[in-house]
Symmetry: C2
Subunit: 335 residues, 2 copies
Amino acid sequence: MTPQTPGPRGKRATILDVAAAASVSRQTVTRAMNDMAGISQETRERVQKLAAEMGYSPSRFAKGLVQGARTSIGLAIPDLTNPYFPAFASSVVEAAAERGWNVVVDDYGHGTGSAVDAAARLAPQVDALIGYLAPHANEVQALMGRRPVVALDSPDAGTAGGISFDYLQAARLALSHLASRGCRHVLFLDSDQGGPASSRSAAAAAVAAETGIRLTRLQAHPSAAAARSAVALLAAGGERADGILAFNDLMAAGVLKALRESGTSVPGDCSVIGMDGIPLGELLTPELTTLSLDLRSVGRAAVDLLDGLLSGSIQDRSPEAFLTLQHQLVVRQSA
Amino acid sequence: MTPQTPGPRGKRATILDVAAAASVSRQTVTRAMNDMAGISQETRERVQKLAAEMGYSPSRFAKGLVQGARTSIGLAIPDLTNPYFPAFASSVVEAAAERGWNVVVDDYGHGTGSAVDAAARLAPQVDALIGYLAPHANEVQALMGRRPVVALDSPDAGTAGGISFDYLQAARLALSHLASRGCRHVLFLDSDQGGPASSRSAAAAAVAAETGIRLTRLQAHPSAAAARSAVALLAAGGERADGILAFNDLMAAGVLKALRESGTSVPGDCSVIGMDGIPLGELLTPELTTLSLDLRSVGRAAVDLLDGLLSGSIQDRSPEAFLTLQHQLVVRQSA
DNA sequence: GTGCGCTACGTGAACGTTCACGTGGGTATA
DNA sequence: TATACCCACGTGAACGTTCACGTAGCGCAC
């Protein structure tokens, strides 16, 4: 029962070891392991049992080498704890599975890691890469050489392809909705990552200037807890806004919490709009009005794009290799 | 600029093609590609440029074959849309990254897939497997041969190792808390997956029998939306319970929604307890009381276990290869 | 001019598997 | 009895890379 432990760190058994132990040839072992024809049932079982005892399992490298690669793609994601990213990852995995591709996931949000670290781990393992890479997208492409990289939300990165979002249009949707609700002074709760001001924030500022809405900006870590305490602090300081637009839904959830605790009614005293459209929004009280992305289609679009790049039907860095997706305003209760 | 497209599906360029084009040997190309010593700067750049133009990238299979495998592990997960699983996945990825391992994730919840499908996709790619595999854990182990499988929440599965949860203890915590709040009739909202009654539900039934609490059981798909409509239907039917214990936090969130809509006050008219301890619970209104798992430690425990199994310091199927973790009751507002 | 060392390269072998054949022996068919 | 065929199994070659050497050319010191 106990395998013939060749020592914990001993070299793994190879097909030749098994063949020798069973007094047959390599090929017969291959036939036994892969349930191929041309072998007697008796020999097949004897070899399989022996292989199990010796702890033999075929090297996936040797197999891949001779059989021709199954494509496998890397997925680099900042933080699996934000429900947006798993939802995205899920759609990528699904679309990749349809093509028989494997997906290797790496999240680099923990600790001090950046997208570059994740890409460095992924690069030797994969044929292509999808990820939220800003602001290091070009370094990642360099790491991948000529293998295609699709960067999300990282416009003008030097990658083979990209998917961006039309934040100007999104900001228009949100701010005009807020304006129609009578909001005059909107707070944009921005993420403190990715430079001085995110492109979402910049777009909101531009649209606000057009519209005559007063827009102030506050930064916090893009998590519910950080957003909550940032807004709590603000409320305690006496600052008053009649509308809040958050960098993402998770932060919006924190905002709702903070407002409830400070006794501010939503949307009565203050309207709140999130961004992403994750399912969480429907579970909150009040239900979150949000700029929603069709999460399914984002991942699918990225994989389709990659497929085109890999097959050559889309040229690297050509205009078709860059898509722009739009948000939709889903009006629920919070605004 | 355009690569010398050998046709979209043409064979990939190999190191020999590059060597021939540059009029150098394989080894010199290797030196150029891997930034090794013993090559002039001029040659290095010339080769690198040529390689890029030809679309050459080293085969990871050949590389892996000759350099010895980097361990990479598979992670099979039913549904990335339930925040519990990404949280778990995240901790696995983190712990694996510390050891320099790669993680290949596959979620099999979409469509009609089972854990066996995911394992079949993963098996040729990985050295070991972690996953929520019930009730197919033994088939998955068969697929993996002698490579270790760590099954979560799948007691007595024929896998190399496993991590289970002490649902009896968890049920005691929850039901005694509910009892102390005066609950007499508790509804267990069970998942409709994995057999007639989940082990969570069975444990609750056993404890309820001891305690003299009346326990009824209702099944639904383990999602917030399904739980919501199941409970709404029940409320419309006039069925009354003064406490609800849910299979997981996501279902509990749906329960809270349904109760609010039916005008039932929580915890006044009905107490609600979830299970998992995902961050979402804190964002709900009322905040969710839950049987909480230290999500970080679950993934870490699985990876530690796998490390032991791979290195041989823990024997397959030995008592040390099976851990049992305990839930803690986190009392917030809903009960 | 011999010896030494350095630089920039080239060559045989090996990694572990599968593919495409080749082979010996037995059994049915003509 | 000769022929054909099938079954179970074996052998050379190939996949694409890196490792461990080997080597030609050059400069420099003695």
